[in-house]
């Protein structure tokens, strides 16, 4: 009995002495850290220090009642490299800058035109604290203005602009959202090209407008997609299931609201490296607006009209893509995924073959309703 109590005593003393280790794991306290909500990277006017980094900081408040309006602080610095700019930024702040909560990286349009996106990508991927699930977007006219604008609809603690990207707030078929890791894999892998949304702003209403996109491909100029084509890209890549197609044919003009899309793509290689892209697309939805009164019994006719219209739009989209050799849907990757490595053509050959590819488009439309009225 005596012996066990002694043992217990020693044990308790040991545990107590270990408590001193709990004084901290040299973790910085939360009041010594400021959290960055988004990062903007621009080209500066100074040619010695080409990079201009702007960060948006959350300003901590003790309670929501104290500041129902969102509050932010901004830091801007130029640097020869991105790291230099970030190091200098740290001298502006009394607290440690924490990049771990940054959910959006905005790249200025000018930097993109100067082909600096690879340099930026390297830093963003290399730093372990930057999330790979942060979104990447292009700022027009530049990133700084976008970052500094706070729209009227913004609530405290959650920047409104995030709602455009996480399919949680608005779900528009016109806006693309690209994660950082997705951006990287599309940039470095051959056979698929990166696509980034363009954030524009309407100054008077202080609202963002995100309905266009850039396609970036190796050794080519960034290609801007129009709103309509951005929507088509979204539909075709099955990122988002909703979309509107305006049908204007044979005296009928109505808008088909697509709510489900199923598509299958195949790449067929014929002799002499002639490539055929087999696209099998099924559209389902209903009519959401019409200039004429509609008849439910003539739904098959409307379906035919929609098929014809979709065929036209999608063919136009692909013609634009193929002519310039951009491949945002990843047909090159599809080709690699179905051909043995030793039987593949080289990537240059593929580029040529893709540009001259034949498109075999097969659209089935299934409008099931004319909406609530005929």
């Amino acid at each position: 009995m005596q012996k066990t109590t002694n043992k217990t005593r020693v044990f308790i003393l040991l545990i107590l002495s270990m408590l001193t280790l709990l004084s901290g794991c040299e973790f910085k306290d939360i009041d010594k850290v400021t959290f960055i909500s988004m990062i903007g990277i621009d080209q500066s006017d100074n040619s010695d220090k080409p990079f201009k980094v702007t960060v948006k900081l959350y300003v901590p408040t003790s309670s929501f009642k104290q500041s129902p309006k969102p509050q932010y602080a901004y830091l801007t610095e130029n640097g020869e490299t991105l790291s230099e700019a970030i190091r200098l930024l740290e001298t502006h702040s009394d607290k440690k800058l924490d990049f771990g909560h940054a959910k959006l990286v905005i790249i200025g349009e000018e930097l993109l035109k100067a082909n600096k996106e690879k340099e930026i990508l390297d830093l963003l991927i290399r730093r372990p604290d930057i999330q790979l699930i942060s979104w990447v977007a292009i700022g027009r006219p530049n990133a700084e203005e976008i970052i500094k604008m706070v729209p009227k609809s913004e609530t405290a603690a959650y920047p409104a602009i995030f709602n455009y990207f996480d399919d949680n707030g608005t779900e528009s078929p016109y806006s693309v959202s690209t994660f950082l890791f997705d951006f990287r894999r599309r940039m470095v892998e051959s056979g698929i090209d990166a696509i980034l949304p363009i954030i524009e702003m309407e100054q008077e209403e202080s609202q963002f407008k995100i309905n266009k996109a850039y396609i970036l491909a190796d050794g080519k100029k960034p290609h801007e997609l129009s709103s309509h084509n951005t929507m088509l890209y979204n539909l075709l890549s099955m990122n988002i299931d909703i979309g509107d197609l305006i049908v204007n044919e044979e005296g009928h003009s109505f808008i088909a609201k697509i709510d489900t899309i199923k598509s299958k793509y195949k790449v067929k290689v014929q002799n002499d490296n002639q490539v055929r892209l087999d696209l099998d697309i099924k559209l389902f939805g209903y009519v959401s607006e019409s200039k004429q009164s509609m008849q439910t019994k003539s739904l098959p006719k409307y379906n035919q009209l929609l098929e014809a219209e979709a065929k036209k739009s999608i063919t136009d989209f692909f013609t634009e893509m193929l002519e310039a050799g951009y491949d945002p849907l990843g047909f090159g990757l599809k080709y690699k995924a179905t051909t043995l490595p030793n039987q593949r053509m080289s990537m240059e050959e593929w580029q040529d073959a893709y540009k001259n590819a034949e498109i075999n488009l097969n659209i089935t439309s299934g409008l099931k309703s004319t909406g609530t009225i005929q």
Partner: protein, 371 residues
């Protein structure tokens, strides 16, 4: 088989992700990783079957005890000492890898010595526990961590950001000749069974090990291996997957759980894998300490009447692992793990010859007893 047996095998299969196995496999992504994996599933299942059947013949007996009965002292003492070192290195590699992960992603401000010491100290007293208690610890921690880890796997597989085209591209490189490095890295997943050398002490009743169990292990291991290899490719692309130092960490950072407590899966992943890493180190070092105990008769060492013997290896364990945590860099760690896996994949199949020898001698000894 008893469920504890499966825990031993499962821990190795799950914990490989944070070791250097994915790095080595992905390094050979165009030079025969797939064929090496297929080969290792075949060889690994055979090894598991042979090892389990062998220890099933001698319920409750550890390898050192068997060797003592059947071989000469000049053989078994150095041999078991060597095994002890091997198991120590296995635990140390996990420790160093995880310390590196923690300092890179979770606590960049903490000195690395402190991280590794905190891990070591929490593990080391567990290593001194009795074998059955170690198994109970394994059960509790596995029950706590495994469901969520499995859920992360499922989230990865069902994510729409997983591009199956990259995976298909990777699969098409199946026709390359296997590479030895890739083979031994994937073979490491199957070596959990080798912990039976000591843990067989717990299994005192003869177990059933038939076709059903073999098929189960084969299916689980195939799933574990393909998850290790294909998920990073599906998320981060195929051609440049070599660039990643910690492919699985980057992959877990690419998974987003919109409606989960923490959106960034990386932190949950690291936290729960901390549990798995703890188990992996615990098992390996427990086995290692048991080997050393046997070789040096540590229980008999007394100082002023107090048995201090079993504490003697601890300073060495802590000292050596702390030294290497500070000394090694990431490249050397991967090299060291590669060499270690290679030596294991030569040594463990050869061990079967030893088993045959022991089996014959034991039969002979039994016959002698009966006469």
């Amino acid at each position: 088989m008893s469920r504890f047996y499966y825990y031993l095998i499962l821990v190795n299969m799950v914990s490989n992700i944070i070791a250097s196995v994915p790095v080595i496999l992905l390094y050979f992504h165009k030079e025969g990783a797939i064929s090496s994996m297929i080969l290792s599933v075949v060889v690994g299942t055979i090894i598991i079957t042979v090892y389990t059947r062998f220890f099933n013949n001698f319920p409750g007996m550890t390898l050192p005890e068997l060797l003592q009965k059947t071989t000469a002292k000049w053989f078994y003492n150095p041999f078991i000492f060597l095994l002890g070192i091997l198991w120590f290195i296995a635990g140390m590699i996990t420790l160093i890898t995880f310390s590196f992960l923690l300092i890179r992603y979770l606590t960049p401000e903490t000195p690395i010595t402190q991280i590794s010491l905190v891990l070591t100290i929490s593990v080391i007293f567990g290593c001194l526990m009795k074998t059955n208690r170690v198994l109970y610890t394994i059960e509790i921690i596995l029950i706590l961590t495994f469901p969520l880890i499995f859920y992360i796997y499922l989230a990865a597989y069902s994510s729409k950001n997983l591009r199956w085209d990259f995976v298909k591209d990777a699969v098409l490189y199946f026709n390359q000749l296997p590479s030895f490095y890739a083979f031994s890295a994937s073979f490491f997943l199957f070596l959990g069974v080798a912990n039976m050398f000591i843990f067989n002490r717990f299994f005192t009743i003869k177990q059933k090990f038939g076709l059903k169990q073999i098929v189960f292990i084969m299916v689980t291991s195939t799933f574990a291996l393909s998850t290790t290899y294909f998920i990073p490719i599906g998320f981060n692309g195929f051609e440049h997957i070599k660039d990643f130092i910690y492919p699985w960490i980057s992959t877990s950072d690419s998974i987003r759980m919109k409606y989960f407590i923490i959106e960034r899966v990386l932190f949950i992943f690291l936290l729960f894998y901390l549990g798995i890493a703890f188990l992996s180190i615990l098992i390996h070092w427990h086995v290692s300490i048991e080997f050393f105990k046997f070789v040096f008769h540590l229980e008999k060492i007394k100082w002023k009447g107090v048995k201090i013997g079993i504490f003697l290896p601890l300073p060495f364990f802590i000292g050596i692992s702390t030294y290497f945590v500070k000394r090694l860099d990431e490249y050397q760690l991967v090299r060291l793990s590669g060499i270690f896996y290679n030596s294991l994949s030569i040594l463990f199949p050869l061990m079967i010859i030893l088993f045959l020898f022991i089996k014959r001698r034991m039969k002979y000894a039994k016959n002698n007893e009966q006469n």
